[in-house]
């Protein structure tokens, strides 16, 4: 039986999914923007509590992971399967590094009593409360996306090693790459809004 594959259709489908993701995160960015305008001082003060170093390292980690997944797709197109899955595994590793850094960032904040509805936070102004709640929701949902990306790329590593992703069939890997890049782009906007607004 001849296998039917629609390369263009698969790619359009992925892009459409990404458009819904843009609108999904867009809603949260709008929320941030409206309340930042209403409580500029609170947002300004709260952003000082953010760890700029960890945020910057995480940005570099995600940008580099995007390079690796892009190179892995380029490698599979050139027929070097081994280089491709090595680069995919490196992307997964960097994704895990991102989540570990995020874990330390969150636990450090929670340790200082900054978490949604904490007694300390409720004593602060509305701006601070909104900033930290948005911080946890937006970076949390983003981290969930990173986690999903790690799982999906791991499956791609398996497929590539097994040989079902190869030089003439790489749509799955390419679409996974598109997803990972979008997750990267969302972080590109989260970074200045939470870490660089003091």
């Amino acid at each position: 039986m001849e296998q039917h594959s629609d390369y263009t259709g698969a790619k359009y489908g992925m892009w459409f999914f990404l458009f819904t993701e843009i609108l999904f995160f867009g809603g949260m960015f709008l929320f941030y923007s409206v309340f930042r305008e209403r409580f500029p001082d609170g947002f300004h003060a709260a952003a000082r509590e953010e760890n700029l170093l960890l945020g910057s390292i995480n940005t570099a980690v995600l940008l580099t992971s995007s390079l690796f997944i892009a190179l892995s797709i380029s490698a599979i197109k050139k027929g070097s399967s081994r280089l491709s899955y090595t680069l995919q595994a490196a992307t997964v590793a960097l994704g895990i590094v991102f989540l570990i850094i995020k874990y330390f960032e969150w636990s450090e904040k929670i340790g200082r009593g900054i978490y949604p509805s904490s007694p300390l936070l409720l004593k602060l102004g509305k701006g601070e409360i909104l900033f930290f709640n948005l911080y946890y929701v937006m970076t949390g949902i983003h981290a969930l996306h990173v986690f999903i990306g790690i799982v999906v790329i791991s499956v791609m590593v398996f497929f590539t090693v097994r040989g079902s992703i190869h030089m003439r069939s790489f749509t799955k890997l390419e679409n996974t790459g598109l997803y990972w890049h979008l997750v990267d782009i969302i972080w590109i906007y989260l970074f200045p809004l939470f870490y660089l607004v003091t």
């Binding site: 609108l23 867009g26 700029l52 940008l63 790459g177 890049h181 782009i185």
Partner: protein, 98 residues
């Protein structure tokens, strides 16, 4: 061209280009951090959002191969961004004149 099977293979990007894009992204990251901490301008937030958009454009056009995509995807992306802008603007017409 965009409807052709595997049409992007004809103009695949070399490893080197990706590497240059990554270097540009790192330079922009350093620049945005510098602007944020040096405090030499009062327009840090809009400038940093502009830099973020440059980074996003680099990822879109090179890593996501938007450059090689057909007009259909480009217009759909444009429409999505415009829809988001419209939602933002409509919300502000409410919050600004309340």
């Amino acid at each position: 061209m965009e409807y052709g099977e595997r049409s992007e293979q004809a103009h695949d990007i070399g490893y080197r280009t990706y590497f240059y894009v990554w270097i540009a992204l790192m330079v922009l990251l350093a620049l945005t951090i510098y602007i944020a901490v040096s405090g030499f301008t009062g327009y840090r937030v809009p400038i940093n959002l502009f830099i973020a958009s440059l980074k996003a454009a680099l990822v879109l056009f090179f890593f996501m191969h938007l450059r090689q995509e057909g007009n259909f995807i480009k217009w759909m992306l444009f429409l999505t961004v415009m829809a988001l802008m419209a939602i933002i603007m409509l919300t502000y017409t409410d919050t600004w004149y309340r």
